[in-house]
Symmetry: C2
Subunit: 406 residues, 2 copies
């Protein structure tokens, strides 16, 4: 396992972790842009742009993009979040250069007006589809409520209104700035030749122009508002709780992840035993959403309408017992085993490794081996988790519920 790094004159960072015993290779562009980098007016443009990149370039029509991927047998996709837009592919080593060429080509899309108009309809369908998924919708709405009018609360998909109002010129301007080479990382993991990747990057991306580009990192609010919305098509109550959490840069993020495992992993957690196993709720989980300079703890609970009162009482008592009695060594040991298993298994595949490699660079400008993360997790103590509990009061939450119209 060998780490490599080079930076082009225009600021594009190219990183790679070479693993000669891997059977495949994964490559991806990590663009540091997402819904938190959008104004209200253009909300949804990052995700829309992700779609538009597959519509082709001056040289390639959309069909040819499709065929070009097809030819390599690549498993490829892209996703957009609040803070990142990521394009990735896993391939057999002999097709890596071909796929990398294709991605670099797609990073400078044609953004044709006719494609823009057609894709608007697709995006609005996607928005409608997700609005029909209450487990997704409730988190989206709660984020907005929690962050109040701060851009960290922006929806990734945008709204029907913001997408309707978006113009091709606005997208073009957003693209020209945010997809600057100095705002992207090209990462490769698995079995590959580093020099070949570097010369591919230099040849294809060297002419891209550096831009002044940044992200607003002003303090994000935490509203602690409570709201409920009734919907006629729902039969269950969907509850989302959000409170201040640790950032992706915080050295205590490992302790915080272990805490969420103890409190609200799918199975075997306090939420599981007190809510799910007791049949008060059907599902109850908590996760850390570690973001750039900020973060949230986010719980999602689904239950029958008649149980809402008991469920919330139980959640409050779980949260307050953390402050009063802390956690046990035994809970920490189990949580470590679960996180370590998941980490090792994920990173065993070049595709899983790529994601950690890319995000560690995006957030930390740091190369971390899997062993670094394993050691950081193993080193977490009960006391360190107690200090997280003390600093971040889970009970101080914003609450949004979606449920049957009453």
């Amino acid at each position: 396992m060998e780490f490599k790094k080079e930076q082009l004159a225009n600021g594009l960072v190219v990183i790679g972790e070479v693993n000669k015993s891997a059977k495949s290779t994964a490559v991806g562009f990590f663009v540091k842009t997402g819904s938190r980098d959008e104004s209200k007016e253009i909300n949804g443009v990052s995700h829309f742009l992700e779609h538009m990149l597959f519509k082709g370039t001056e040289k390639l029509a959309a069909l040819q993009v499709n065929e070009a991927f097809d030819r390599t047998g690549a498993q490829f996709n892209a996703f957009t979040s609040e803070e990142n837009t990521v394009f990735y592919a896993a391939v057999l080593p002999e097709y890596l250069v071909e796929v990398t060429n294709l991605w670099t080509e797609l990073m400078r899309p044609a953004l044709r007006n006719e494609d823009f108009d057609i894709e608007k309809g697709v995006i609005k369908q996607e928005i409608a589809m997700y609005e029909d998924l209450p487990s997704f919708d409730v988190v989206d709405r709660c984020r907005k409520l929690h962050f109040d009018s701060h851009p960290c609360g922006n929806s990734v998909l945008g709204s029907k209104e913001s997408i309707d109002g978006l113009t091709a010129d606005q997208m073009q301007a957003y693209f020209a700035n945010r997809y600057a080479p100095n705002n992207m990382v090209l990462a490769v993991a698995g079995n590959f030749d580093w020099d070949q990747i570097c010369s591919t990057a230099q040849t294809n991306c060297g002419i891209w122009q550096k831009q002044p580009v940044s992200r607003k990192l002003d303090q994000a609010p935490a509203s602690k508002k409570k709201e409920r919305l009734g919907k006629s098509n729902l039969s269950r109550e969907h509850i989302c709780l959000m409170s201040r959490g640790l950032s992706a840069q915080d050295p205590k993020r490992f302790a915080a992840s272990l805490l969420t495992m103890i409190v609200g992993d799918d199975v075997g957690s306090r939420f599981f035993w007190e809510l799910v196993d007791n049949a008060l709720a059907e599902t109850a989980t908590i996760q850390l959403g570690a973001m750039d300079g900020t973060g949230v703890f986010c719980s999602y609970i689904r239950c029958g309408n008649e149980n809402v009162g008991k469920v919330l009482d139980t959640v409050r008592s779980i949260f307050s017992s953390l402050s009063s009695s802390g956690i046990t060594e035994d809970e920490l040991t189990k949580a470590k085993n679960k996180i370590l298993s998941a980490l090792v298994i994920k990173n065993e595949l070049p595709m899983g490794r790529l994601i950690d490699l890319g995000f560690n660079w995006t957030y930390l400008q740091q190369y971390r081996t899997v062993a670094d993360d394993i050691n950081a997790i193993k080193a977490v103590t009960v006391n360190e988790i107690h200090s997280v509990i003390e600093k971040y009061n889970l009970g101080d939450f914003t609450q949004l519920s979606l449920g049957p119209a009453q």
Copy 2:
């Protein structure tokens, strides 16, 4: 990479592929039993039994099972199909023996009457849930129609009626026969110590009793019936087509898989270009369901009701052009790249490797390396695919449609 095999006196086969460079290990029990081994009366018992195994043993209550898995950090699950019931887990190497001990313990469940009664409700909920998923429901119903009254057409979940009628005694009798050691394989893949696994198996499973157990492999019919069912809650037409296909033992199964990639892969296939890209259908795929001694080609298409006529005409013309004009070298090359990528990436993880290892033994009593499969795929010629097309007429299909009530 080293293959190991041992058979206990009671017939239990233990196999392992040791990969010292892997970071994790996967272990699983492959029980050769599924819905095709059920009579109409007890249809659904295999899947129900899979649930019951997690309810504990004479020594372990259900909660303790949960806790025991939790302690190891294992990623574990189980699934039941027409022909197999598989229990598996991926873990860090240091927890492999603990997890293997747990699985061997669970393979001799208590099957308590009170758990049986409660779980009946859970199973019926699962049946209702899947009936609400038309893409699943249409395939299930089409299988029944295609295989007529033959057990290969049995639903994995069973029906509300068959589950209601099932008794604990019937389940117990089914279990005692089908979970005999000589009808199971214990497989391990990844980084582990073979001798340790063998002694664990010997100690824990050596006392299990051999049973006379078999599967009926009489010729399965192919009805070619056509039916349509209207449902008031559907807005789209869901179409399933089934025709005779190759068995899991057929040496031409690789050629047949390549054929389905050419005809109906998600993207870049004939279905894709002529149905999806032309906006006649929203999705259109075909897959080979290779079974024990038999098999089906199964297409699934979703489209607007107004397009059904055109869609079926197009499908028929795609199928008949295969017979009249065959496929091209270029199509075969692309299909090979896709299948090889997917195969290599899947088998790179011990968990993915475990599944192929277990099924190759179950169906072929054969150890096949990943390289064996790669070479078999690379060796397929256009002519070999033409011989599959000639022998298996895709146009000779059973058809079931689910769509809006009219």
